[in-house]
Symmetry: C2
Subunit: 351 residues, 2 copies
C-alpha cells in the first residue's frame, strides 16, 4: 500500500510500504476512508521537532474495518470507525480514568507497539490498529461512501474536536461564563464550539485571519480580537471590565501564546491548554498571585469520541467546517504546504 513518510523537515512523500496485517489477536486492520494533516504534524515539518530518520506520519483517520483478530469483539469487518490519535487498551486504570493518552499499554501511530510490532501512521491507505476494542469507536449506519461533510465532522472526532473539547472541559467552563480562545487553527476553532456547548455565554476568539474568524463566528464566537501580545491582552481586558476571561483555552503551544492565555485569565480563572508545548516557561509567580490555574494536556480523544460522534450524527454540531480543503492522498506534500503557509485551516486527505 501507499503511506506518507516524513524524511526531513519540509520533505513528506507518499511511499510504497508493506500492507498492514493482523499480527496480534487484539488487532484490527482498517482501510482508511479519510485522514488529515494536524497542526502538530507541522512541528517536525517545520523542523521544530527533530526528524532523525524517515518515519511514518499522521495520527487522525476514519475508515472501514477490513479484518480483526480473534479476540476483537467491539468492532467487526465492514464497520465504519473513528480512530483516536493514540491507541489504548481501554482496560487499565488510566483508560478507566478517561486518560487513554496515558494508557499503560497504548501508544502513538507510526511506530512500534510495546511488543515491537509495527503500527502504521494515519496518512496512508490502511493501518494496523493494536488493541482495537480499546481504540476504535464504531459509527453505525454509514460506510465508505458517506458524504464528505459528515465524513469531515466524524474525522474531527479523532483529534481536533476532542482536543478542543478537552481544553474547555479542563478549563472548567461553567454556564454563563466568558471564555477566550487563543489560537485559530482547527483545534482553536473546535474549542470555540466546545466552549459554547459547555455553556459559555460569551466566547472571544483571538484570530487575525478573516476566513478563520468566519468559522469561529459560525461556531459561536461572540467577539473577535485581532491583536496579540500586550495589545491582545489589553483588548481582552477591555471586553471584560478590566479583569480578564473566566476561562482561557490555549490551543497553540508556544511560549507567547501561553503567556497571552495566562495573562488573559481573571483572578481565579483557569487556562485549559492543549497546544503541544514548545519552549514554554511558565510564569509561576504571576499564576500564584492571581490564582490562575493551568489544566489540560494531551487530549484523551478516545474518551470524548463516542459522545462527539453522537452529536455529529444527531446534527447538533458540524465541526467538519474546519476542513477547508480536500486533496487526494497522492498530493500529501501539497497538503503540508497549504497548512504550513496557512492557506488552508485543515486539509482532508482521501486515499
Amino acid at each position: 500500500m501507499k503511506a506518507t513518510v516524513i524524511h526531513a523537515p519540509g520533505d513528506v512523500r507518499l511511499t510504497e510500504v508493506p500492507d498492514p496485517q493482523v499480527v496480534l489477536p487484539t488487532d484490527a486492520v482498517v482501510r482508511v476512508v479519510a485522514s488529515c494533516v494536524c497542526g502538530s504534524d507541522l512541528w517536525p515539518y517545520r523542523g521544530a521537532n527533530a526528524v532523525d530518520e524517515p518515519r511514518r506520519i499522521g495520527h487522525e483517520f476514519v475508515g472501514v474495518v477490513e479484518e480483526v483478530g480473534p479476540e476483537v469483539t467491539g468492532v467487526r469487518p465492514g464497520q465504519f470507525v473513528i480512530a483516536p490519535f493514540v491507541w489504548s487498551c481501554g482496560e487499565c486504570a488510566a483508560c478507566r480514568w478517561g486518560m487513554q493518552t496515558s494508557c499503560e499499554r497504548g501508544g502513538g501511530w507510526g511506530g512500534e507497539d510495546r511488543d515491537g510490532h509495527f503500527v502504521d501512521g494515519g496518512q496512508g491507505e490502511a493501518v494496523r490498529v493494536p488493541r482495537a476494542d480499546g481504540t476504535l469507536v464504531p459509527v453505525d449506519g454509514i460506510d465508505a461512501s458517506v458524504d464528505e461533510r459528515l465524513l469531515a465532522s466524524l474525522l474531527t472526532c479523532s483529534d481536533v474536536m476532542g482536543t478542543g473539547w478537552h481544553a474547555a472541559l479542563r478549563a472548567g467552563v461553567q454556564p454563563g461564563e466568558t471564555v477566550a480562545v487563543v489560537g485559530d487553527g482547527a483545534v482553536g476553532l473546535c474549542a470555540v464550539l466546545a466552549a459554547g456547548l459547555q455553556g459559555a455565554e460569551r466566547v472571544i476568539a483571538m484570530s487575525r485571519y478573516p476566513q478563520r474568524q468566519a468559522v469561529a463566528r459560525t461556531f459561536g464566537a461572540t467577539d473577535i480580537i485581532e491583536t496579540r501580545g500586550d495589545e491582545g491582552v489589553e483588548a481582552l481586558r477591555e471586553l471584560t471590565d478590566g479583569w480578564g476571561a473566566d476561562r482561557v483555552l490555549e490551543c497553540v503551544g508556544t511560549h507567547d501564546s501561553m503567556l497571552q492565555a495566562i495573562r488573559s485569565a481573571r483572578p481565579g480563572g483557569t487556562v485549559g491548554y492543549v497546544g503541544v508545548p514548545h519552549g514554554i516557561e511558565l510564569p509561576i509567580e504571576l499564576m500564584f498571585r492571581r490564582n490562575v490555574n493551568l489544566a489540560g494536556g494531551v487530549a484523551p480523544a478516545r474518551e470524548y469520541a463516542p459522545m462527539l460522534r453522537d452529536k455529529v450524527l444527531a446534527g447538533e454540531i458540524d465541526p467538519g467546517q474546519v476542513f477547508d480543503a480536500v486533496m487526494p492522498l497522492a498530493e500529501v506534500a501539497r497538503a503540508y504546504t497549504a497548512m504550513d503557509e496557512r492557506t488552508a485551516i485543515k486539509v482532508m486527505l482521501r486515499p
Copy 2:
C-alpha cells in the same frame, strides 16, 4: 504600642511604634489577642526575600475590635474578630468571585494602603484594619479571655487552615480519592485535615519529623512517607499501584517540592499548590504528557474563614494543634528562631 519590625535577615525586634488610629471611615482598629509566625515570614528572615529597609511583619491575627469608622457596619467595638492574611473590600468582582487576595482595593499587612495611609503588621499589639467590613470575620460569643485551645484554632482561620483548605479545594479532591500532601509545616498539616474534610479516603502525608507525623495522624493522615525526591515519589507510587495520587497538595513552594508533587500525581490528577513559589521551573512537557493540572495560588482566606470558624466553634475541627508553642510577643525573636530551626511547627504570640 509595640510591634514587630524586621530589620534584616535574622533580625526581628519588638519596637515602639505609633498607636494605630481610625483614619478612613471604613477602618477599624483591632487590639490583637493572638498573632503568630508564618512559614512565609521565614522567607525574608532567611534572606530568600530581600529586606531593603526595616519594615513591620506579621499577617495572621485575631483580636477584639476597639474602634470603628462611621461607615463600618459589619463589626462593632468589643467584638472578637479573625483577620485574614490580606485585607479586602468585599465588593469588587474579585471579592465576589471569592478571590479576595486579588481585591482591586485591598492589600497586605505592614505597609501602606492605596491612599498612602499606614497599615500595621499583625505581630503587634494593635492594628489599623482598612475596609473592616470586607476584611474582618466576627466571632460571636467569645472575648479576649477565650481559652487558648479555641483561640489557636480560630487563629488558624486567618491563614494556615484556609490555605490548606484552598490547596485541597483547588486540587478538586473528590470523595473516595487518594490525596498526597507535600510539606509538613502548619499549612501542610492543615491540608491533610482539609483533604479528609473534603472526602479523601486516603491521605498520604510526606513528613520526616515524628512530631509533625503525629499531628498529621491526628488530622487524618492514613499513610506517612518519610523519604523525598525520587525515593519519595517511588514510595508514593508503590502505595498507589504505580500510578500516583489523584490529588497532590503542594505546601512548600520550592522547586524540589513542586517537582515532587507533580511527579506524584496520577495521569489526569491535579496538584493544588499554595506554597509561595521560590525558584520553581515547571516541567510543562511532563505535565502535558500526563495531563497533570496545576491549580491554586495565594489562598483567599477571607472566603473560607466564616465556614472554618463555624466548624471550629462546632468542635468539628481542631486545627489549632499546629501551634506547639506559645510565647509572649516580647519574645518574638525567639519565636522566629524556633520556626527557623524547626523546633516548633508554629508559634503563637500573645501581646
